[in-house]
Subunit: 273 residues, 3 copies
């Protein structure tokens, strides 16, 4: 308990006012400045998108950080509250609905524990609708103070969740939209590296639309204002974007929609590698 | 002045860009990490809802914290800028429009002082439209440094404000919507404990609609996706919710609208207690 | 490197989830609490409005602060990443698209340097779409640690940007809307001090509408709920506001639209000075 408290990050879909109640709990136990907001505006109830984003947001933090995720449509139901310890000493706290899993696997060697409320030594719960305040924040505070996750409850095997995988096709790739970002860019699960080098134009089908020819742009500026195209996003994945505009509004496509890309002419072979 | 600076929390309806100007003021006087954002997205000009939320957000912070609230449609007008000291050593700073009162009363033994700008030793005011930056932040900084509120101006009696009270009826309760949360849940002022234990279904009237039968769900998951019902919210109050959806959009009801609940059949007696 | 780390402020249009990735980078190098969010909800791609707001938000911070701005529609294109050192020891980091310039000039004696990625000793870049994470955050961390900006790359002359200037006319002023704030107030570039003292009513033309008579109100309260008028904003500039409402929605006017104000009767002279 005498060691330096670790950082705690908070990611949620609950909005700032509910998040404030988690910060109140943490303010009793952490030194000022040790709680970092990642986002409280994640898409409500969108567990899969949050799992993808949590990994992207949290992966770069120092080893030993405690990451709390509250995207939890099953709060108060059968899903367990869990804490996960990873290879680098980082800990993850949240619901056992998959939201923590991609980050846990990226951090390596996850060991999960079911949080037992009796072990938190904290005021009793007010309801069954806000575990972020009533369970996750107290649990995170204890982990940040140095308590090992195994002291919070029994070891369990968490529910699995996998970010949807893209597939190579004979002429390109088939995937889906993982995330619609703040600008309305449609971030797919197709790795940027899959497009053969130097390809300046590909055909893209969003959902059930027909294939459209899109330029492959090196940057938003290269795309040009108001023009749609494909770029390598900062996630290392291809995104559909509109220069200084919103691809989400232009194409009315959201998370989970199928995306098909063609960079080879059907019937042609041996193009690229 | 040598004692450890206290935490300052900021709650407002002014948005992040104006709040940033308050943080600039505070950065001169507080050590890094001592300023905590509660929310800057409170509903604009909604003093009553903010008073309710401020109490919920701030009540859990450590004794001695300085809470600043800027929901202030009367800025620059006749309402006074005030600082309130409470029993536990916490201080509240904001306009004398009622927004601080429910929190002050919950913290106990409030003593209020009118902030005299001449006592702040801070750059003169630029206008009459942003007391958050020009008065409240400087006042909060002084309180955080240990200055007693009585040094900021004369003692006054603040305007009263009471969160609207619910009423028991012969067959249930009558209240109103206090808060529409980030998810669109309609948080009422009717205590969760008022529903007789085990009641699985009640009748609810929102505004001037007819009574609708709603399940009483133990959790959002118990409600089921897209279904409307009543739950015990994390505020200890009943809320009308739609599973993974927005009750606000479904019922087009906002803050202040009347809510009537029936859990006993009219004409029947002796049911529950 | 042994001196106390300086504060870093972050202002952007990228939303909280992307900003979180910048905080991850900074968490490795700064002590807890030293990173302050100004706003991550600036209007997307609105460089001019951001330049105005950045100056307003950042100007009040202590000397020596490092201000990072990411409003960067040209990311990955020809515009350079730059760092600017100012007279008071403050540093600015962002794209060379003008967003930093008004703040730099207000802080005084700006010297700009093109950031050379090779000098950052940081993981290679993932793409060309997020310099905030890949270049600006690492550069800001080094500046905060005490590295002089000249060590980050060669001296350059940054692109100029000037906040549009208002003009006096024979009967009043002509300017434009610089900023639409969180409440929908239309902040113009016409200084509050230009209106002759005591003028209770002026004529205002927004865009191509006709002139409308507007009261000059001392405060929002003085305006009255739902009524439009002109006030001295907290920026020291005149704004068009609607009491407890949104002038943006009322008048459907946005950033860059022309504003003309008349406080003298055409043909009359010698009124005020």
């Amino acid at each position: 308990m005498t060691r330096r408290p670790r950082l705690i990050t908070l990611a949620s879909d609950i909005g700032s006012a509910y998040a404030a109640q988690m910060k109140a709990v943490l303010a009793h136990r952490l030194r000022p400045g040790h709680v970092i907001d990642l986002s409280h505006d994640l898409r409500p109830h969108a567990v899969g998108e949050a799992a993808f984003l949590l990994r992207a947001m949290a992966i770069g933090f120092p080893a030993g950080t405690v990451h709390v995720a509250v995207v939890d449509p099953g709060v108060g139901g059968r899903r367990a509250p869990i804490a996960i310890e990873c290879a680098d000493g980082s800990s993850l706290v949240g619901p056992d609905n998959g939201v923590l899993i991609p980050l846990a696997e990226a951090l390596g060697r996850p060991r999960a524990y079911r949080i037992d409320p009796m072990k938190l030594r904290f005021p009793a719960r007010v309801g069954r609708t806000f575990d972020g305040r009533d369970l996750f924040a107290p649990a995170a505070a204890r982990l940040a103070e140095g308590t090992p996750a195994r002291d919070l409850g029994p070891r369990i095997r968490p529910h699995h969740y996998e970010i949807p995988a893209p597939h190579r096709t004979r002429v390109g790739a088939r995937g889906e939209v993982l995330h619609v970002d703040h600008f309305g860019n449609l971030v797919t699960n197709v790795p940027t590296g899959w497009i053969p080098r130097g390809r300046g134009r590909i055909a893209v089908r969003l959902g059930r639309s027909g294939f459209r020819p899109f330029p492959v742009a090196p940057s938003y500026e290269g795309l040009g204002r108001g023009r749609a195209g494909v770029l390598g996003s900062s996630f290392g994945l291809l995104e559909v974007a509109v220069g200084e505009g919103s691809a989400e509004r232009r194409f009315r496509v959201g998370v989970g929609r199928a995306v098909e890309m063609r960079w080879r002419t059907p019937g042609r072979t041996g193009d690229g590698k």
